[in-house]
């Protein structure tokens, strides 16, 4: 039996006629932390939405534990989502609920646990992200890093098999970034989960990810362990890893000639 929990095969997807993904193949192994990297607008977050069944591919398939996501009806998709936890780019905490209630939300919606058990579980999840002392605060009283940690506690509230992270490092200070990196790795290993991170932060991701996919021009441009990719001679990977201004990804967006635009 395969060790892959999630399989993406020959996936194509686009908004309108323009294809964003032109035949993507990815496999996410059980218990591993995998990253999807690529420039802005390369469709990384869309891959998470396809895995979560929020959108349907034009062709190809996304399957979780052998079940094809887009073949499921709504209740089937909801059953699959019960196995997932997702950390959104800015946390997406419910602003009318306190930190405590945000983490308790999935438990209240999906279980009939008594209040004392919910309380213990919420405090345990918040303790895991270091914010047990902030359970009374409202989301507006949290910093960006704290909000993301609370969202992470909420994402793992029901001990999911799959944890997805959408740009978890965006806009964070170096300390918060290090904390989130450490949490992703620690929680993945502690829960025995499979984690998928969508990001373009090279240094952080290469420090803890097990496997990395680079997406460019709608296909997987490169893949491998951080070590393999560091040694890669592929121009795109080199440009991305070393933050080079120009390369296969051009500095200038396609445009008419400069002279004609300036009427010279």
């Amino acid at each position: 039996m395969s060790d892959n929990l999630i399989n993406i095969e020959n996936l194509t997807f686009g908004y309108g006629k323009e294809l964003l993904h032109k035949g993507i193949n990815m496999q996410f192994q059980k218990g591993k932390v995998s990253a999807i990297m690529g420039g802005s607008g390369s469709g990384k977050t869309t891959i998470l939405k396809l895995i979560g069944g929020q959108i349907k591919p034009n062709s190809g398939s996304v399957s979780i534990d052998g079940q094809v996501v887009h073949d499921q009806n709504l209740s089937g998709i909801y059953q699959l989502r019960r196995k997932m936890g997702m950390l959104f780019q800015h946390g997406a905490l419910f602003t009318d609920l306190s930190v405590y209630e945000n983490v308790a939300f999935p438990m209240r919606e999906h279980t009939d646990l008594p209040e004392n058990i919910i309380k213990d579980l919420v405090l345990m999840k918040l303790n895991a992200v270091g914010l047990r002392g902030s359970y009374k605060l409202m989301p507006t009283e949290l910093s960006g890093g704290m909000a993301r940690r609370v969202a992470l506690a909420r994402a793992i509230a029901l001990d999911p098999d799959i944890i997805m992270y959408d740009e978890p490092f965006a806009g964070l200070d170096p300390i918060s970034m290090a904390v989130i990196c450490d949490l992703i790795r620690t929680l993945n290993d502690a829960l025995g989960a499979t984690s998928i991170i969508v990001t373009h932060d090279v240094a952080e991701t290469f420090s803890f990810a097990d496997y990395i996919y680079f997406v460019a021009d709608g296909v997987v441009a490169a893949e491998g362990s951080p070590k393999q990719l560091m040694a890669s001679k592929l121009p795109f990977v080199k440009q991305f890893i070393h933050s080079e201004k120009d390369g296969p990804v051009p500095f200038h967006v396609a445009a008419p000639s400069y002279n004609s635009d300036l009427a010279l």
């Binding site: 979560g52 929020q54 059953q79 997406a92 919606e109």
Partner: protein
Amino acid sequence: MKSLISFFEKIGYSITSRIKRLGTATRLFFLILISSGESFKRFHLTMKEIYFTGVMSLVIIIVSAFFVGMVLGLQGYYTLQKYGSSEAIGVLVALALVRELGPVVTALLFAGRAGTAITAEIGLMKATEQLSAMEMMAVNPVGRIIAPRFWAGVIAMPILASIFSMVGILGGYVVAVIVIGVDEGAFWSQMQANVDFRYDIVNGVIKSLVFGVACTTIALFEGFDAPPTAEGVSRATTRTVVTSSLVILGLDFILTSFMLGG
């Protein structure tokens, strides 16, 4: 010729996009009805929304009703006095409020106060990915967020309209009886004799129920359909007030003609 074609294209686009939006709103309305189980099973969710849409609207409803009642009392008295029937002021104030002004002005104020709040809240929840987060937690946002707000609006509107009519009658009483000096017995007895429970009060409640369904559906749809940007939410909020006001006035005419015809 080209500009003529483009002119007709624009008209066609505008019509089809409006029909599409109407279709989407109708679909959302039926989705709300299908997903309403949670709103009643976990009634505290609906109660919380009744507090936000109903109780929080009380100040504007009571103050407006009092002034509307006082103006009705003043205007009515000076007109009725010309015909020597100033004692009928109580009936005039009560019928005007119970049949028309109560449901209509309450619905217009509700659209401005609670409707905009609902649209902005849902729109911002969408813009900040809270609705997506809920979907990813396998929780249906229509059942958990939209339906309780819908039923809260439907329940709150007739209650608010009744309060509006009561306070308005009190405002009319203050001006007509206390300030002008119309006979108090005539004020109340004429009202009691001429306001029919089935024909006037029940019809007024039916109107406010229909306005409640319309106003809340419009507010929820505009929020749910708003582009997830600051500008999108702001436009959706404006559209809520404009569309709700026009729909309330249009529906009022239709309902009144049916009720008077019946």
